[in-house]
Amino acid sequence: MAVSAVPWLEAVGLTKRYGGVVALEDASVTAHTGTVHGLVGANGAGKSTLVKCLTGIVRPTSGSVRVEGRPLQLGRPVEALRVGIASVPQELTVAPTLTVAANVMLGHEPRRRVGLIRRRELDRRASVALESVSLDVTLDTPVGQLPLIEQRIVMIARALSFNARLVIFDEPTATLSPHEAELLLETVRGLAHRGVSVLYVSHHLREIEAVCDTVTVLRDGRVIRDLERATHAALVALLAPETGPSASVDRPDRVAGDVVLELRAVTGARLQDVSLVVREGEVVGLAGLSGSGAREMLLTVCGAVPFISGSIALGGRRLRSGDTLAAVEHGIGFLPGDRSLGLFPTHTVRHNVALPSLKRYARLGFVDRRRERSAVEGLLGRVALAASPEAPVTSLSGGNQQKALVARWIGSDARLLLLDDPTAGVDVATRPEIHSQIRALSQAGVGVLLVSTDEEELAELSDRVVVFERGVVTGELTSHGLTPARVLAAMTGQPLEAKHTLEEDA
């Protein structure tokens, strides 16, 4: 693909500060007509902030954006859309009962003077947009009846219907099967072929390698490298530089305990034939990108998501599919990655921490508040959270809320903890504290299933790491030589055969 000399979009020195926190610092990025430009980086590296600056959702603290040489008014979503910058959101945001045509033209339907919709014109414009993504569906099909991938492509058509010249994709294949993902990549290539420029944000480094002409790598809000035709290996090396043997923490060899959790050939909506064993005192990391099945594993084990076939046993006792209550009663504690799934926002810290173990502080159904309070105080001390048990939980910072949730499960009788991104949104100082609590729990014999988007965390805490991709277990990294780089390589789609090569390299 020939790259024109003048980029279609040129962002220079974008900086965004939130109070004292720098989300993005002096970031520059260019997008050329007819090319696909990748944007990669760890969580919190500034990818989303950069995208939001371009689409006008966020007004940068400083810096400028030029579109076809003319300055773009920043912080104005309508203006960004007018010049042709459109984004395809990560989540599906179709109106399922409306037709394909109505969804494509939603919000900018061609109208008559009195406000009535010009149906024929609407259909015409919708079919133009659908044609440019090569989607062959009838215009009056309700979108909800289409397969997921086609719903996604309808959303891309919708973005194009605004006469988009730059389309931004944010993790577009997260919930797609390998075949569907391939179709989507095909659509992305097709767009570039038609002269649209594409900004492609993804953790799937293999996809980046497959589809991107150029790549910008971000770390801690800064651009650390611009690459052309980046390979998977080069990206892994940039994102998780090998820091030598010190990165892999020495774990004392423990005698393997009894089996706490045993999955046999579990198949569910997002899992296929997964078998796994967790022993007492063992931390099993689950690596995989969103939609890979790692997080779905946790939800399935705790009964929040049902499974179709196979069996899950906790301490030898079979768990029924989708029976959360039984799972929790028999000793499963789930720390959700999305805090809104764990917090009781109108309640005190005490209530939030004590709830699963309330019965222990109760006699004849009455809660002994003094016992409860002193128990909660002890737990807060263990996670080094200096807050009053009586403070509203929403008065705590995000990191401290996370500590409170960790305290909740330390205080329970859980035999198996399911941790989903336990240090997400937690500051650097708090992170080691939470980590040491997790280690202490596992040394006390609790089994842990750990999902994290942070490869360093997985490498640091896990005894072994099971790798998921698109619902299937694709490999396992054992404690011997468990490093962030290997975890990252495995979770971003390193082919299994290459695993050995990597180990030989090291």
């Binding site: 799934l341 109108t346 709830l355 509203p392």
Partner: protein, 315 residues
């Protein structure tokens, strides 16, 4: 805390005292008297009991729109066993409570297990309850109740009407239930975040069913208080309680900083509404004025809460 924040926090108490002072100045001879206080307490007792039941259902994050119909059904059941079968007063009270519990169970099962949205489920169950009521009573008025039953409305203890004492006792019981028991904590968790509650081992469905059954029991008790005072069953006696019961519960929300429905707040809310109604009547205002003022008070109270709730929940 700023003066504004304090004013909002205590808005219910301020409104309560304000209304008292206002009417006392306007009608100094009749309003601030023990006779009037006693009348307000007595007349508010039915609404009190219903508002407490409504509070429990709101605490678990659901609605019950069958309140009026269930009250009528239980009234019909209690009065008919006395009028047709000459059952004693205590048995009639038990029948009212039992009928209420059954209606509540139906609501609870429909909402928690069949998973029909409570708005729809309780409307449907309410309609069915109303139909059963009419099938029993054929829209006639029943009289000739057990004298012991009528005493519920006429007895006073230390010059306080028994009905007011019953309402206060129920309020106290439910306050203890919601604040000090495992069930109360579970119920509050379900209302706040049902997913998180389930993941913390709270039996969400059971908690919901219990809440609806408690609501049904309250409706049965309210029916006893209405019919004993009227000394009869009459059609549509439950009409007109639904709205003020919810109004009182929402007024009471301010007492917890706008975060949680609570029994004490609902209780004070009912008394505030009762005071306003009585006061306006004493000032010879037309009867629609009370409804107008109640509506305005509710809007003002709840709008302040809505703003703060958004802030607290980060929405």
């Amino acid at each position: 805390m700023s003066i504004r924040a304090i004013a909002e926090r205590w808005s219910l108490v301020i409104a309560f005292l304000g209304a008292f002072v206002f009417f006392s100045i306007a009608r100094p001879d009749t309003f601030p008297t023990w006779d009037n206080a006693r009348a307000i307490l007595d007349e508010s007792s039915v609404l009190c009991v219903l508002a407490i039941g409504v509070t429990v259902v709101l605490v678990i994050g659901e609605f019950d729109l069958s309140v009026g119909f269930v009250t009528q059904l239980t009234a019909a059941a209690a009065v008919s066993v006395m009028a047709f079968h000459a059952w004693p007063a205590w048995a009639a009270v038990l029948v009212a409570l039992l009928a209420g519990a059954i209606a509540g169970l139906a609501n609870g099962v429909a909402v928690a297990y069949v998973r029909i949205p409570s708005f729809v489920a309780t409307l449907a169950i309410g309609s069915i309850a109303g139909a059963i009521e009419l099938a029993i009573t054929k829209t006639t008025i029943f009289e000739g109740l057990d004298p012991g039953y009528l005493e519920i409305a006429t007895t006073t203890v230390y010059d306080i009407p028994l009905r007011a004492i019953i309402a206060a006792a129920i309020a106290l019981t439910f306050m203890v239930l919601l604040r000090m028991t495992v069930y109360g904590r579970h119920a509050a968790s379900v209302g706040d975040n049902a997913t998180a509650a389930r993941l913390s081992g709270v039996p969400v469905e059971r908690a919901k069913v219990i809440a609806f059954v408690l609501m049904g029991l309250c409706a049965g008790m309210a029916a006893v208080l209405v019919t004993s005072s009227a000394s009869q069953y009459y059609p549509n006696l439950g009409q007109g309680y639904l709205l003020p019961a919810y109004a009182a519960a929402f007024l009471g929300l301010s007492l917890s900083g706008g975060l949680r429905f609570n029994v004490l707040g609902s209780y004070l809310g009912v008394l505030l509404l009762g005071m306003v109604t009585t006061g306006l009547t004493m000032m010879n205002q037309p009867s629609w004025m009370a409804a107008l003022v109640q509506g305005l008070v509710l809007i003002v109270a709840v709008s302040g809460i809505a703003v703060r709730r958004r802030g607290a929940l980060g929405r």
